[in-house]
């Protein structure tokens, strides 16, 4: 199993992760945390509760919206889905993140002369 990424490093990118996860399908909070964990192959260990403030923040900004719906096992859960502006924001964020990652990678690759 790959070593887990610490929560501190995750904090800045949780919004992006949530947006990305919701761009695949609408989902409830618990589902989101598990999907992130799955997709990262267990590398990203999200503090489960902290996904909710992120969801609230994104909803307040109008990037996602939510409604109560019934789950497969017949429970009531709050399902979140991306709005149009959420999709736009995701594109912008992804672009920014990629540039940031490339820049970071470039710096880290540099070998001492």
């Amino acid at each position: 199993m790959a070593p887990r990424v610490q929560t501190d490093a995750l904090r800045g990118s949780i919004d992006l992760l949530v947006l990305k996860t919701l761009s695949l399908t609408s989902m409830h909070g618990w589902g989101i945390t598990h999907r992130i964990e799955q997709l990262s192959g267990g590398a990203l260990d999200v503090n489960q509760g902290s996904v909710y403030p992120a969801l609230q923040r994104l909803e307040k900004e109008g990037l996602i919206t939510s409604d109560w719906a019934t789950t497969d096992n017949n429970r009531q859960a709050r399902y979140y889905r991306l709005t149009a502006s959420g999709r736009r924001a995701l594109r912008v964020e992804l672009e920014g993140w990629r540039r940031f990652a490339i820049g970071l990678e470039a710096v880290l690759r540099t070998v001492e002369p």
């Binding site: 509760g49 403030p53 609230q56 307040k60 919206t65 859960a77 502006s85």
Partner: protein, 902 residues
């Protein structure tokens, strides 16, 4: 659209706090359950263990909750709601303070709401009609007569209609009183608005049946038509659907009903019946036309200023064209809703008065603040601990503000409820006595704006009673407070405390006598038996002729005609088979005119000046016929009744009532004494030129009638030709008042169909109304002063007991050093009494001033002194009770305990 969505989400999150909390809980619960199931499934854990691990993975439920609340921006709201809960708890914990505070402030809120509503009703700018703030009134001012409006602008109306492009639907009305005679109901006097058809167009209200008036109806010779209002339709026609086309008689002229207006429509004043205005300017000389009132609606896009400017220009042209009649005439345009105020400046005066009344709340609020301050000061330990735990001063003051807001909010609700009931009674009374002449848009009711005003008052009161004491109590350094509290050192209250105490006592002493004498009046008015015998009806009816008849008959001839008709009516009623006693008088009891008189000190039965306590006086005066006293069983106390000789012109005789003699002759013999009307005020310089009125000699003294009217009353012989209008007093041995009233109307109709009875009601009703109004006024005064006194007494109690409680340690040490308890108590009492004594002294001085301004001249000096003494004793008792309790508690403490806690 995203901003819209975002804003919506933000608003939902902000305002749906309750639902947000429950949503949060449900989401968290779902999450934990799902995680528990997964852990149990994947790791075969026991349910409890799975749940424990799920909670750990979730990571600090409460922390996430707080993060969500912070994210909502509702954190402060959460804190505030806790403060409100605390506030409610405080209400229950200090019931005395709650009761006194709520009572005091609710009185102020009631009075504030009353004043606000009354002022708003009078100074409103919009009629309750479509675009009601664009309806205007136009009149002429006569510069020579100082602001006095003139109403004879029939000719000008034609010019205005022609030239004023900025005003649409320009029209006019006048009101005339007519007897309404229908087939199946007794005749009734109604106020008919003779109005141009434009008045209906301007109102933009469609009739519910038939049509309203149109311009064809205004032509001379057109059929006589009338439009009726909703209440006339319901009450006089039983709400019949086929009323259109019915015939009604107004005075002597038969009219056809052509339409019914919906409920609430009463334009132009408070009318329920409209007939076309048919005035032809060419039939009158300019400046001599019958009075009319002009109205219109500002044209779309035109402002009041635009229209006023145009009107002024037209006015200048008129002045140039007709210099003789228009030299000093200036037209003026006002908002219609404001046109019933005396002058535009009155609104400002009214608003100023309202601000002054609002200040009452500040005074009462300050009193409550003193109480709250004592409580706040006694909570200094709590404040200190909270501060030490990190609460900022602002946080603590916010808490105190919220607590105070709870108190003032409760008081506001109570005040509004009371105001609601007062409005109901007051409006009924005012409308009754003003004979429905109050404009339809002036209503006394709790409107949203009153609620906003009261909410403002509540916040203001909360600032006074919460924030100010809070700031004062948290001013000192916390560590000092902590040391003080846990070390038991006494908090020095110093001069402010003493000054507050002295002021409280002074205010009570100054205000209480006023309250007590008011209360006495109230009790007296409640206790006095005002009832007339239940088996009989006393009905007062004032017949009036048709006013402002289009053809202005000679006044003298009209008066003579009226006098003949009324005497004829009285005669016919007197011969009715059911035995009416009918008398003529100038005014019904309770509505007499008021007269200032000079009393002749020289005339009298014995030595000059004996028994005469005043050289000037006042009382009501009624002219009555010879049968009056017998018909109403008014008992003679001394002297004689009127004889036929008294009714000859120029015979100066007078009969007075018991109260008159009591007031002016100290129960001495009044017969033979003389009084005369005082010359009008402000003509003292002219007195030598003008001939004084002749003296009237008192020939008889009678019992007060009705028994309620305990003021001085003078009866003069009635000479019908000199009195207009006359009132018929009818005493019926059998029959209900309503039946008697109907019979009077019927006989009146037979005598002359133009005789109208605007006020025809049982004497008892009129008296009850007057008493109700009087009681309401007295009750208001008593409630205000009582609440001030109550608050003061509570304040004195709180301050005193608090001061003594603070000296607990000092008392303990003195006891430990061997002081005798009696001596300690005496000393504490002495210091308390000193403060109360100073307060009483200041209060007595204040009473002198108050007593003079409130007009306590009806109470003799000795009674006043007794009252003062009573108040002083009450204050001392309050002081003793407040001091003794805490002092005894302090004495009971073991000195060793105190020293140990040191």
């Amino acid at each position: 659209m995203s901003w819209l969505h975002g804003t919506g989400a933000r608003l939902r999150l902000l305002f749906a706090r309750q639902s947000s909390e429950s949503r949060m809980d449900r989401e968290f619960q779902f999450h934990i359950e799902m995680e528990t199931e997964r852990l149990a499934r994947e790791f075969s854990l026991e349910p409890n263990e799975a749940r424990r691990r799920a909670l750990v993975t979730f990571g600090g439920m409460e922390k996430h909750r707080e993060a969500l609340r912070d994210g909502r921006g509702a954190a402060w709201l959460g804190g505030l709601s806790l403060d409100f809960k605390l506030g409610l708890r405080m209400l229950a914990k200090y019931p005395g303070l709650t009761l006194v505070g709520v009572l005091g402030m609710s009185v102020a809120v009631t009075i504030g709401a009353l004043a606000f509503t009354a002022v708003a009703a009078v100074t409103g700018t919009a009629l309750p009609l479509d675009e009601g703030d664009r309806i205007v009134a136009i009149d002429n001012i006569d510069l020579k007569k100082h602001d006095e409006g003139r109403e004879t602008h029939l000719h000008d109306l034609a010019v205005w209609r022609e030239g004023l492009r900025t005003v649409d639907d320009l029209g006019a009305y006048r009101t005339v009183d007519r007897n309404l005679i229908t087939a199946d109901a007794p005749p009734a006097s109604v106020r008919v608005a003779e109005m141009t058809a434009s008045g209906f167009r301007l109102g933009r209200v469609a009739p519910i049946l038939g049509r309203y008036l149109n311009t064809d109806d205004e032509q001379a010779g057109a059929p006589e038509v009338v439009v009726i209002g909703y209440s006339v339709w319901r009450n006089r026609f039983g709400g019949r659907g086929d009323v259109v086309g019915s015939r009604v008689t107004l005075g002597t002229v038969s009219h056809t009903v052509v339409g019914v207006m919906p409920e609430g429509f009463a334009f132009p004043v408070n009318n329920q019946m409209w007939a076309p205005l048919r005035l032809n300017p060419s039939a009158y000389e300019r400046g001599n036309a019958p009075p009319i009132h002009v109205f219109g609606r500002l044209a779309p896009g035109a402002s009041l200023d635009d229209a006023s400017r145009q009107l002024t220009m037209i006015g200048q042209r008129l002045t140039a064209a007709y210099p003789t009649s228009h030299e000093n005439i200036r037209p003026r345009m006002l908002l219609y809703a404001r046109s019933f105020l005396d002058s535009p400046g009155t609104a400002w005066l009214l608003h100023l008065g309202q601000v002054a009344i609002s200040l009452l709340l500040v005074v009462i609020g300050t009193n409550v603040a003193v109480l709250v301050y004592a409580r706040t000061a006694s909570r200094d330990a709590e404040m200190a601990v909270r501060t030490a735990l990190g609460a900022s001063r602002r946080r603590i003051v916010t808490q105190l503000f919220a607590e105070a807001l709870v108190l003032s909010a409760v008081a506001s609700v109570v005040g509004l409820v009371v105001a609601h009931f007062v409005f109901q009674r007051l409006e009924a009374m005012v409308r009754q006595s003003a004979d429905d002449q109050i404009p339809f848009w002036m209503r006394l009711e709790i409107t949203p704006s009153v609620m906003v005003y009261v909410a403002g008052l509540a916040v203001l009161a909360a600032v006074i009673i919460g924030v100010i004491p809070g700031l004062k109590a948290t001013r000192h350094r916390v560590s000092a407070n902590l040391q003080q509290h846990f070390g038991g050192a006494s908090m020095r209250l110093g001069r402010t405390w003493t000054a507050l105490l002295v002021t409280q006592v002074a205010v009570s002493v100054a205000a209480l006598p006023v309250a007590v004498s008011g209360g006495k009046g109230l009790v007296r008015s409640v206790l006095v038996d005002r009832s007339t015998p239940a088996t009989e009806s006393f009905v007062m009816a004032t017949p009036l002729p048709d006013e402002r008849s289009p053809d202005r008959r000679d006044d003298k001839a009209r008066r003579a005609h009226y006098t003949d008709r009324v005497i004829d009516l009285a005669r016919r009623l007197g011969t009715e088979p059911n035995g009416f006693d009918v008398v003529l008088m100038s005014a019904p009891p309770g509505a007499e005119s008021f007269l200032r008189i000079d009393i002749d000190p020289m005339a009298g039965p014995s030595t000059p000046n004996s028994g005469v306590t005043r050289a000037e006086g006042e009382g009501v005066v009624d002219r009555v016929d010879a049968r009056f006293f017998a018909a109403f069983d008014v008992r003679a106390l001394s002297g004689r009744m009127f004889t036929p000789g008294d009714f000859a012109a120029g015979t100066p005789t007078l009969i007075v009532n018991r109260s008159f003699v009591h007031r002016y002759f100290g129960d001495g013999n009044a017969l033979g004494r003389r009084v005369r009307p005082s010359p009008p005020q402000g003509t003292a310089a002219k007195r030598t030129d003008s001939r004084p009125e002749p003296w009237w000699e008192i020939v008889g003294v009678v019992e007060d009638f009705p028994s309620l009217a305990h003021g001085p009353k003078m009866y003069l012989p009635l000479r019908p030709a000199e009195v207009y209008p006359m009132t018929l007093g009818v005493r019926a041995r059998t029959g209900a008042p309503a039946a008697v009233a109907d019979r009077i109307r019927e006989v009146g109709m037979a005598v002359d169909p133009t005789l109208r009875f605007t006020t025809i009601r049982p004497l008892q009703d009129a008296l009850d109304d007057e008493v109700r109004l009087e009681r309401l006024a007295i009750l208001g005064i008593v409630m205000v002063t009582l609440s001030v006194v109550l608050l003061s007494a509570a304040g004195i109690y709180a301050l005193m007991s608090f001061t003594v409680a603070r000296r607990r340690r000092e008392i303990g040490i003195r006891m430990a050093l061997g002081a005798r308890s009696g001596r300690v108590v005496v000393e504490i009492l002495a210091s308390a009494m000193r403060q109360i004594g100073i307060g009483i002294a200041i209060g007595v001085a204040g009473t002198g001033i108050l007593g003079r301004t409130v007009g306590g001249d009806s109470d003799p000096l000795s009674e006043f002194l007794v009252l003062l003494l009573g108040v002083g004793v009450m204050m001392v008792i309050v002081g003793v009770i407040a001091t003794i309790g805490p002092a005894r508690r302090a004495l009971r403490v073991q000195p060793t305990e105190l020293l140990r806690s040191e």
